[in-house]
Amino acid sequence: MTILERVERARRTLRATAIAAAALRGLAAALGILLLSATVDAFVSLPAGARRLVPFVAAATAIALFLRRLSRAGVRADAGSAALWIEARFPSLRYALVTAVDPRYEGRVPEIERAAAQVSFEPAVRRAARRALTGPSIAVAACVLVLLVLPAGAVARVIRPAAGDALSRVRAGSRTNPLASMVVRVSPPAYAGLRDESFDNPASVRALVGSAITLEGVAGDGQVVATLGGSRTSASPSGDRWRLVLAMPSAPAAVRLHAAAHERLLVLEPVPDSAPVVVLTAPARDSILRKPSGRIRLSATASDDYGLASGAFELIVSSGGGENFTFKSRTIGAATFASRSGELAATISLDSIGLQPGDMLHLRAIVRDRNDVTGPGTGTSDTRTLRIARADEYDSVAVDPSPPPEAEKNALSQRMLLMMAQALEKKRPQISHATLVGESRSIALDQTRLRKRVGEIVFTRLGEDTGEQGDAVQKRLDQQMNPDSVLAAADRAASAAAGTALEGDHDETPLLALNRPLLEAYNAMWSASGELEVGEPGKAVPFMKKALDALQAARSAERIYLRGSTRAVVVDIDRVRLQGKDKGAPGARTPRPAADPSRDDRIRRFDAALRLVRTAPSAAVDSLLLLRLDLLDRDMAAARAIETAANTLRGGHDATSALIRARRALTSVPSAPAPLTSWGSPP
């Protein structure tokens, strides 16, 4: 073997030794960190977050140390570095070895190679390798040994930290407080599709209603008994542990755990499964149908927090009126779901339902969720109502042909009289004066008759009794209501009606206002009759046209239908006041309680818990947890603040700031979303 080959072998040995030593040092450091963490955790429970960091810190330390040691190793990849390492330990070589392995002098100076070959450096290399590996190997072995000696749970808590491993660091024993450390495992109902969760030493547990709550602890002093509401449940032993299974109730409750002289509280905070949210998208609004025929498309969307199961559209047909209603219902469009949201769709044929005029069809969508524990939760959409119009209300939905009203008849007659007057005026030059006057008076007679008919309409609307023969109308027309007075009444009515509603203080006023066009026609007819009476059809024509226009205006006036308003009954309070024969026997009146009467009580309980903090911290924690239980359904912010304070106290930390926040949350003044108005009479 040449000197170069010997040096190269020594270099490989030294290099491998350096790598192995660096790796052993890194491994020893990592094991040391794990060992230290497990030891500290055995005395002071490390938080789960800190424990999750330990493996990463150990690995990072090992890698860093390995790289550092490797970079500082003296032997590199070339033979020269190994020759120098050997020269440092054999000074008698006087750099002969370095020269011999130098490629520039290789084979040129045989004397130097021979001198170097005479030195046996291999034993020194082996000794150095042993020395370099011995220390780290011992350290690794020691760490491994100690880790093996430690309880398996303790090491697992730092190597594979997981929620629910709090019990790993506690040993069973007759003097052990079995309630000191507890793990709660929550198994949600299968329909929710949620994963199981575990919690170490929780003060309260939030879970879906119906979830299985498994409490587990280490066996110790006394049998563990849980009291929930009025029922007591004993824990069952399982190896060196106790286990107890409860069901999450539907209302917040506190579980009291007893074992010998030990006691602990656990607040169960149920999370309700919300009912599905259903929105009926079609039909979009209520409607009135003239005929119960045709097809209607129904559609709805639904969503749920955990999952939908089934849904359908519900139809209710209500028939009848007053006191006699009959109902029949059915469902259509049933569908099943396999997700958290879905759509319903269906089409109904109105012909198949057998609706009658006046019937009402109520439509809504009903969806059920997958809750098979406390449900199923049922969500319903808003209801759409489709009504079939009755024949007597067609004028509000569709107008059938009907005879023209009286005003239109009058318009036709007035137009005929106007044409007759115009024709007479046209042939005036060809006829004698006597004939003209005679025909003119004939038209005047018809005009007067028509005027009286218009007058009947007006005054009948005004509520006057016209009498069988129309005597009253005649009397009023001829004696009391001359054209000026009628127009004056119309003017007054029109001006008064402008500022009053239909149901004003004076019943006549709005009706007169509505009749104003007819009154104008009446007046124009009066003037036309006068002209016609004296044989002046030409002068009568403008008045007759005016009357015709007024009648047209009356015919096209807006029609108002008053429907559905019941006559208001006004009680004469002064007349009936204390007129009842029975005076009653009223009991003692008590004022209404304040808005939140329990607030002061809660603050008192909080103060009492604070007083226990120094002397009996566990009792203070229990008091705070019970107070939190009462707050769960009325003041969630305060409940959260108190939970934080209780957890801080239970962990043995300074809870001052948490308690201050809790008290602030408790004593904050409640505010109403909008100012309240006083009870009062209608505005």
Partner: protein
């Protein structure tokens, strides 16, 4: 102090105005038996309106299915939360009827589930004493509707106070006549209505 004003609730679905004479009749009775300052006419307030908060007692009835809109539901919940009292009467007097079923559902969604009100509750002695609980109506005694004489009223309680009072006894029919006709009755059948008003105002 303002006058007490009887408030009838108008809701979008159903026939909320099926008992138009009940308000006047109860107003008459309140004036007839008590010294409560009362407005001579009632008011009709949409259930979805903030106007409802002006009135301590609200009356709701009907024959048809009751379906509250989201706004109506929210307003009713807030109304009861602020101390208002809703009196609901099934005009169908039929626990198998659609009003009963749908109103139960809606009240449960808006305020809370209805439960039986004990016949010893303060409501039955708030003014007149009704030792046997709610007085029976002629509709019950005649076997109309569901052919039952209901022993209890139902209620949603908020603390120890009634938030929603629910009747299947059809007081809306029993009290649905003009108050002037009260003189023809040997025993005034609206006295229980006075208890409801007095309870709503004093508890």
């Amino acid at each position: 102090m303002s006058d007490f004003t009887f408030c009838t609730v108008q809701y979008d679905s159903g026939d909320w105005d099926s008992a138009p004479l009940v308000p006047a009749n109860l107003i008459d009775s309140v004036a007839r038996y008590t010294s409560i300052s009362v407005a001579p006419t009632g008011v009709i307030v949409p259930l979805g309106s903030a106007e409802l908060f002006k009135y301590p007692l609200a009356y709701l009835t009907g024959h048809l299915p009751v379906r509250f809109s989201e706004l109506e539901r929210r307003t009713l919940g807030e109304y009861c939360g602020r101390g208002g009292m809703l009196f609901v009467d099934d005009h169908n007097h039929d626990i198998d009827g659609v009003f009963h079923k749908s109103a139960h559902e809606e009240i449960a969604r808006a305020v809370g589930p209805l439960k039986e009100l004990p016949n010893t509750h303060a409501l039955y002695s708030s003014f007149f004493k009704f030792d046997d609980g709610p007085p029976a109506t002629t509709h019950e005694l005649n076997g109309w509707g569901d052919n039952l004489v209901h022993k209890h009223l139902l209620a949603v309680m908020r603390g120890d106070r009634i938030s929603v009072l629910y009747s299947s006894k059809d007081y809306s029919s029993e009290w649905g006549y003009h108050p002037d006709n009260k003189r023809f009755l040997s025993v005034d059948n609206t006295k229980f209505g006075v208890n409801i008003v007095v309870y709503a105002l004093t508890r």
